[in-house]
């Protein structure tokens, strides 16, 4: 276990009020992830994977427990404080790409930097798009790109702010086999190059197997946290 955790989750619980009484979708989850480490969160549908990812990334508030991300305790921050942490330290890749349809590929990539008020950052954006193989697609809108291309734009956007941690929610869920493979290579390649911590939610055990650890959820509870054997 690393001495300085990038992500520290302690007794994390999420409960939703429903007509039939409180519904606990995540129950006292605890784990730590070190810098540069990669972890896959797996489990059947409804096991609380996406809830856990949202709480770890500061997209939602927990009902109990705490999340410490890149040295910041998220529970102590208000929504704008958490937004600043995300902008400074977090990258996201979503299953449904979540590109902004009205922005070009390059503009989509630059949004995190522009939010900080940075200027003259276009070369970085272009370089990242070239790195993911979209050097000829800078000015294309999402609707003009294929699914695989959209996901690569999303990946470039996720790395533009040199995040300390990358959260991926089923990054290949909407892609065909070959495209998915290419995408996986890119994710792990960039992750290695930049020393980013990777948190991956997936149903795909092959993909999960490429991470250093696999955290298994069932009924909202962490049932196992296993280290995967090193790749041969």
């Amino acid at each position: 276990m690393p001495s300085q955790a990038m992500l520290r989750v302690s007794r994390l619980t999420k409960t939703y009020p429903t007509a039939a009484g409180p519904l606990t979708v995540l129950h006292e989850a605890s784990f730590e992830i070190g810098p540069g480490e990669s972890i896959a969160i797996v489990g059947p549908s409804g096991s609380g994977k996406t809830t856990l990812l949202g709480l770890c990334a500061g997209l939602d508030r927990a009902s109990g427990g705490s999340v410490e991300l890149a040295g910041e305790t998220l529970d102590r921050l208000d929504e704008d404080g958490r937004a600043r942490v995300r902008n400074a330290s977090v990258g996201f890749v979503f299953q449904n790409f979540q590109l902004i349809p009205t922005l070009t590929a390059l503009e989509n990539v630059l949004v995190p930097l522009e939010l900080r008020g940075e200027r003259g950052c276009e070369p970085e954006g272009r370089a990242l798009l070239e790195r993911v193989g979209l050097g000829a697609r800078f000015d294309h809108y999402p609707v003009q790109l294929s699914g695989g291309e959209q996901q690569r734009v999303a990946l470039a956007r996720a790395f533009i702010n040199t995040p300390k941690i990358l959260f991926c929610d089923e990054p290949t869920g909407n892609l065909d086999g070959d495209t998915a493979d290419a995408m996986v290579e890119l994710v792990f390649g960039l992750n290695r190059e930049r020393g980013t911590t990777l948190v991956l939610v997936t149903h795909n055990f092959e993909l999960a197997g490429r991470c250093q650890r696999i955290l298994r959820l069932k009924g909202g509870t962490v049932v196992s946290d296993l280290r995967t054997p090193p790749a041969s």
């Binding site: 400074a88 996201f92 922005l103």
Partner: protein
């Protein structure tokens, strides 16, 4: 800030046309405010520029009796110039056509006008009158009506006059005056020969005075009021005329601006509704921005900038359209204004209108935009989260709602200049919106509950669209219903009033009244009328008199009383009273008992007083009222109080004396009859005027025609502005349809995929818009009928007339417009193959 502006600009790329369409909702409201405001500024400047020409003199002194003796000496002593005028109604005969027409005769002497010009066509007509020539200047409408030309001959009283020209502009008179009766100007020197002047004539006597530079007109008026209290003079100065005219313009401006403001508010609702749909489509984008580190404030600001841009675009387009409309307004108000109005662009009015537009647009935009603050980043992972969070209570929404209410009330108070009226307007508007919105909800609820399942699928689907999620039922009912309500109310009120006045023909009630009949003329006139086939139905003697004291207190004393318990007009006026033994069909005693004959034993004659007069004079049964009947004192007591139907064209009086009191007094007569046709009416008028030139006739058909003319002018101006509301309603409808287009396309594509034919899809659309249009039109029409009934009962005190044909026509027109707009905005949805649309939409 840079990010916010960049992002707002980029994010709007794909929706700029759509956003501009949303902004169209407020364009017409802003255009209405700009055009009316700028036109008012034009009129105000014209009033300033032509202020002296408004009166043509420094001072008008008007009296109900001839100006003579010390009064004239006083006027002459002022050291200025004096012109004189005698004005009365009379019948103008056109011998070549054997026609007669009631005119307002202005007999003038002197060099009036001193400022401005009496313009005639051909020029020089005024000079002929000054020279005392036997010529008349007539209203152009009169010449056109009878095909008369300059040089033709007409007859006034016993004298033949040559037509010297038509009147184009008379300083001191509004062309509106001519709406009541066309004017005929002649030289005062010629009046005596006509036989129309003299005792008993209902004339107004006026001196038009040009004062030396050292004298102030208002000061002179005050002096004269003190010096000649018994003459019952009235005064008019340039300053007063300017004030009155300015006030009238300001009232008209205020009223029309409020009508325009309704369109603006409606547009605001349209903008709010459109933006609500727009923001619903932006949840994913906002959630991603939040994931990428944008704060709630930044995300909100991105869309606020777009809302502001939308308001600015609407304000610009509205400003341009408003200026274009302003150019058309002088033609619209032609004939209602006493001055020529030159076009100029009033920047303050333009900025005010645009500013009001931006403020309203922004306030209404804030309602949907506030939800942007509450879109959580988690919505990027789970879209359902956004709905859950956004549907919770938000104190800011309440605050914005309160701000909107305050803005509406503030604007109304500013426009009307009176707090109570402004608040009343805002409350009524709020109530109207609530009623329409409530009805909209009820319609949606009823569509869910009561549409039978046995109806064909396309019909059920059409009704279903009224209540399913994201329906626009309430919005459309409010916008279209309000527009229908406003326009139809104006139309129905006009019909009610004209029907009430003109209804006499159908009921055999009197429709022709002769007045100024001398004592010795009544019997021959009765025979003449009977010979023409139209016997006199009712006649009444008229005796002129004035009040000298009430309950023992003299008029002078009562007028000086501090809190003036009795209305001054009631004390000062010259009464034209009658005497008779019984009530007329238009009267009803509401207090006391009517006495038809003064008993020989009673000291005080029992009179009957009209209830309005009794109220204004605080008269009660038994109160003593003393009169000066042309020099003879007569003491009376209030024996009864009557309610009178004044609107009927029959001899009605404020005060009715019993028989046995006034028979010996100098009197004239008034006679009323019913003519079965226009020809019969013309025949009897001609016969009477030929024989008795001093007698004047009022023809009900002419009154109705005159009132219709006035209504047409005023109502057209109001309806013109109200049309902005209807058009705004249609724009809101088009916007609502377009913003629901995305959802509609998906449904349509699904239905097509499942085998629906093009015809079925078109029918579903038709049913939906027809149901919406009919509902909106019916609700608007129902409110208009109710408003007409309330106005008729409580304001005009008449029976309401709401012709089914007109109401049905309005419902049909609004429904058709709705269907046509719906079809136009939704076309294309059913024309494309499913795959093509699916590709576009993904």
């Amino acid at each position: 800030m840079r990010f916010i502006l960049h992002m707002a600009w980029r994010d709007s790329r794909a929706s700029r046309r759509r956003l501009f369409l949303y902004s169209l909702s407020v364009v017409l409201g802003i255009a209405a405010l700009v055009s009316i405001g700028s036109f008012s500024a034009n009129v105000s400047r014209a009033i300033d520029l032509e202020s002296k020409g408004l009166l043509g003199a420094d001072l008008f002194v008007t009296a109900p009796s001839p100006l003579a003796g010390p009064l004239l000496d006083y006027l002459a002593g002022l050291g200025g110039d004096i012109s004189r005028e005698e004005t009365f109604s009379s019948m103008l005969a056109i011998p070549s056509l054997s026609r007669v027409r009631l005119v307002q005769v202005h007999a003038i002497r002197g060099v009036f006008p001193y400022y401005g010009k009496l313009e005639t066509d051909p020029a020089g007509g005024a000079g002929l009158l000054r020279a005392g020539a036997p010529a008349v200047l007539l209203e152009p409408t009169l010449l056109a009506q009878y095909g008369l030309r300059v040089g033709d001959t007409v007859k006034l009283g016993k004298t033949l006059f040559r037509i010297a020209g038509s009147l184009r502009k008379v300083p001191g008179e509004s062309p509106g005056v001519a709406m009541m009766a066309p004017r005929a100007y002649m030289a005062l020197e010629e009046l005596a020969a006509t036989g129309l002047s003299g005792p008993g004539a209902l004339a107004r006597y006026r001196a038009m005075v040009r004062l030396p530079a050292s004298r102030d007109a208002d000061q002179v008026a005050r002096e004269m009021k003190d010096r000649f209290p018994e003459q019952r003079l009235s005064f008019e100065t340039v300053g007063e005329r300017k004030r009155n005219l300015g006030q009238a313009v300001s009232h008209l401006d205020g009223f029309l601006s409020l009508v325009g403001f309704v369109a603006l508010i409606l547009g605001g609702i349209g903008v709010a509704s459109s933006l609500h749909a727009y923001i619903s489509g932006k949840i994913a984008t906002v959630a991603v921005l939040r994931c990428l580190g944008a704060s709630a404030r930044q995300s909100f600001a991105v869309y606020l900038v777009q809302g502001l841009g939308l308001g600015l675009a609407g304000a610009l387009a509205g400003g341009i359209l408003g200026v274009a409309v302003q150019r058309a307004l002088p033609a619209l108000f032609k004939g209602m204004l006493p001055i020529d109005v030159d076009f100029f662009l009033s920047w303050p009015a333009l900025l005010r209108g645009m500013g009001a537009g931006i403020v309203i647009c922004l306030l209404f935009s804030l309602l949907p935009l506030l939800s942007v603050r509450r879109i959580p980043p988690l919505a990027a992972l789970r879209s359902a989260v956004a709905d859950r969070v956004a549907s919770g209570p938000d104190p800011w929404r309440l605050a914005i709602g309160a701000l909107i209410a305050a803005a509406v009330a503030g604007f109304a108070i500013w426009q009307t200049g009176r707090v109570a009226v402004g608040l009343g307007f805002a409350s009524m508007l709020g109530l109207g919106f609530l009623v329409l919105a409530g009805l909209g909800s009820a319609v949606a609820w009823a569509a869910r509950r009561f549409v039978p399942r046995s109806l064909p699928y396309v019909v059920r689907q059409g009704f279903g669209n009224l209540h399913r999620p994201n329906n626009r039922t309430v919005l459309l009912l409010v916008s279209l219903g309000l527009g229908t309500f406003l326009v139809l109310t104006l139309f129905l009120v006009r019909t009610t009033l004209l029907h009430e006045i003109g209804g006499a023909d159908a009921q055999g009630r009197p429709n022709l009244i002769f007045f100024d009949i001398q004592d010795d003329q009544i019997e021959p006139l009765r025979q003449e009328a009977a010979a023409a086939g139209t016997p006199i139905g009712e006649s009444a003697p008229i005796v002129t008199m004035r009040i000298t004291s009430v309950r023992g207190l003299t008029v002078e004393k009562l007028l000086k009383e501090k809190d003036a318990p009795i209305a001054a007009w009631a004390l000062r006026r010259e009464y034209r009273s009658t005497f008779r033994g019984a009530l007329s069909p238009t009267e009803k005693v509401v207090e006391g008992a009517f006495s038809g004959r003064a008993g020989a034993e009673a000291g005080l004659a029992p009179i009957s007083v009209e209830e309005g007069l009794a109220r204004d004079m605080r008269l009660h049964l038994g109160d003593e009222v003393d009169w000066d009947v042309q020099g003879v004192p007569v003491r009376t007591r209030v024996g009864s109080v009557r309610a009178v139907e004044w609107r009927r064209l029959e001899p009605n009086f404020f005060v009715v004396f019993p028989e046995g009191v006034l028979e010996g007094a100098p009197k004239t007569f008034l006679a009323a009859l019913h003519a079965g046709s226009a020809e019969q009416s013309a025949r009897v008028q001609r016969a009477v005027v030929d024989k008795f030139p001093n007698v004047t006739a009022i023809d009900l058909a002419l009154v109705v025609e005159t009132l219709d003319g006035i209504f047409s002018k005023v109502a057209f101006a109001i309806q013109f502005m109200a049309l902005f509301t209807v058009a705004t309603g249609l724009i809101v409808l088009a916007g609502a349809i377009l913003m629901g287009r995305h959802q509609r396309i998906r449904e349509t594509v699904l239905l097509r995929t499942l085998g629906a034919t093009r015809r079925q899809l078109s029918l579903i659309q038709l049913v939906e818009y027809a149901v919406l249009g009919v509902q909106a039109a019916l609700v608007g029409a129902a409110l208009a009928v109710a408003a007409n009934a309330l106005l008729a009962r409580f304001v005009f005190h008449v029976g309401a007339t709401s012709p089914l044909g007109q109401v049905a026509a309005a419902v049909a027109v609004v429904s058709l417009l709705t269907v046509a707009t719906g079809w136009a905005a939704g076309r294309g949805v059913v024309d494309h193959p499913p795959l093509e649309i699916l590709r576009q939409e993904t």
